[in-house]
């Protein structure tokens, strides 16, 4: 496999993607909602509330959290502790939902889209190996999700530090658990989902079918990621590392088996189910 050609496939897909406003504007809005608008709204309500009812309810929620989490929650007042809890624990799954959704949308039509446009014929007659095509498409699907995560995570960090930091004694975010989540756990989770979605994209006959299948595939992955990302923040170092190792192994396996699912006949539109 030649990496220069693999990166060319990825680069050309990304060029097409970033020229397509129909794609990146909705995805930008999605990232903005989950990383900025939703947290900003919730944190504003929690940090500025004068309602004794709401403050009491936050206190009750804090009491239901596991012991280790309660020990880690910082803040003198129920509102400060509530805002800290919201920032660090409740919004963590956002970090996986957004990139997964964005990358799935790209991956779903990565291969079937080539067939629909007729460009699959060109790729089938090119000297590119099917593995170069598959991995190039996978990289092109991963990058938008990672960019959204990196940008969204940076903005989210600024937001919570500016909103909640003054209430809990200074800037506190990202915590160790969030670093592990973003750097070690989120990438392989996206890769696992994408390897399945690209496999589906190589098999189905239309983009619409690929999108349906991608939704079915990504939902359980999102659910799993939701649980894992919430849980590992409680015990970030050991659990996060272990979950990351498992996810990376699954991602490698998915990549290998996914790349075997693609062949030139499917690029020509002859091998679909």
């Amino acid at each position: 496999m030649r990496w220069d050609r693999t990166l060319t496939v990825a680069r050309i897909d990304l060029s097409r993607l970033f020229k397509s406003k129909d794609y990146w504007i909705p995805m930008g809005v999605l990232a903005a909602v989950f990383f900025v608008i939703l947290p900003f709204g919730l944190l504003t309500v929690v940090t500025s509330t004068t309602s004794s009812d709401l403050v009491n309810k936050i206190g009750e929620v804090l009491q239901t959290l596991p012991g280790p989490v309660q020990d880690n929650v910082v803040g003198e007042t129920p509102a400060a502790r509530g805002a800290y809890m919201l920032s660090v624990y409740l919004l963590a799954p956002v970090a996986i939902v957004v990139p997964l959704t964005i990358s799935s949308a790209v991956g779903a039509h990565a291969i079937v889209g080539e067939r629909e446009r007729g460009t699959g014929e060109f790729l089938a007659h090119s000297p590119l190996t099917v593995r170069e095509i598959f991995i190039g498409k996978m990289l092109a699907s991963l990058v938008p999700g990672f960019i959204a995560t990196a940008v969204g995570f940076t903005i989210y960090s600024l937001l919570v530090n500016l909103k909640v930091g003054p209430l809990v004694g200074g800037w506190f975010f990202p915590t160790t658990g969030w670093w592990i989540l973003i750097v070690w756990v989120v990438p392989p989770f996206i890769a696992v989902a994408l390897s399945v979605i690209l496999w589906v994209s190589a098999k189905v006959r239309s983009t619409a079918a690929a999108q349906q299948a991608a939704t079915l595939v990504s939902l359980p992955v999102i659910m799993a990621a939701y649980g894992v990302s919430s849980g590992l923040l409680i015990n970030p170092v050991v659990a996060g590392f272990a979950v990351g190792v498992v996810a990376w192994v699954l991602a490698a396996g998915g990549l290998i088996s996914g790349s075997r699912s693609l062949n030139r006949e499917s690029l020509l539109g002859l091998g679909g189910d």
Binding site: R16, G118, L128
Partner: protein, 305 residues
Amino acid sequence: MPDAIEFSHVTRRFGDITAVDDLTLTVPEGSITVLLGPNGAGKTTTVRLTTGALGSDEGSIRVLGLDPRSSGDEVRARTAVVPPKPALYDQLTGWENLAFTADIFGAPHDTIRPAAERFGIDHALQLNVGGYSTGMRTRLALARAVLHDPQVLLLDEPTAGLDPESARAVLNLIRELAGRGRTIVLCTHLLHEAEGVADQVVLMGAGQARIVGSQTDLADRFVTNPAVILDAEDRTALAALEDHADVVSAEWNGSVHVRLTHLDRLPDLVAELVGNGARITRVEPDNPTLETLYFEMQRSLREAS
């Protein structure tokens, strides 16, 4: 001359359909071969088998001495295919489409502009291909096909839907590349466009090469009565041709297209017309067109079956 492409008893099936059936065919290096045949004759599958984009179920294929199944990447690096639809990325500019191809075929980027200029598409390289006309798209696809200077060029219905200028660009490309020793395979329905370019004509049907030969050979085999075009100042003087013993048929189409029993009867026939007072202005051979040959070959096959 060695063969650039060799098919030996190649069969390829799609489920119950046999697209290529025991096909044996050779394409000499540096030649132009035209594949003719109706839809479903197996032309596109033959192109796809040649590059290894499809594998065969039976038989063996050699392209430039290589097996496309085991050395497909090398075969594809030395060949180019122009498919019926240009297969371009609409969101990208013409330049980006060509640069992509150059990068995956290992061609330098300084080949891009000359290739585009060759097909008169250089003025639109910075525009998105989505805004191109059908002719512009085909010209870009042709420029893309020659970027890496392929040894074998496979054109699958490249002139379908093209304006005359673009169609001529295709035929000029074919002649130019063949002149430089490249091997060309052209699949087409548009027989008049392939007229005179083929070193070898292959009539395909039901996945087989039914008839193979040069246009001259095929004319000798399938057009038994030689034809000439005659004209005279006063055409009524040619009316006697219709009942002449040496004339099989005479069609009036501006001038007169005459089918003779034998070509060596022509001098006597002309002398007789002149003797009868006709002032002859035109006598020239009426070589059978590829279209005529095509239908003659099809008729011959029908009669044989």
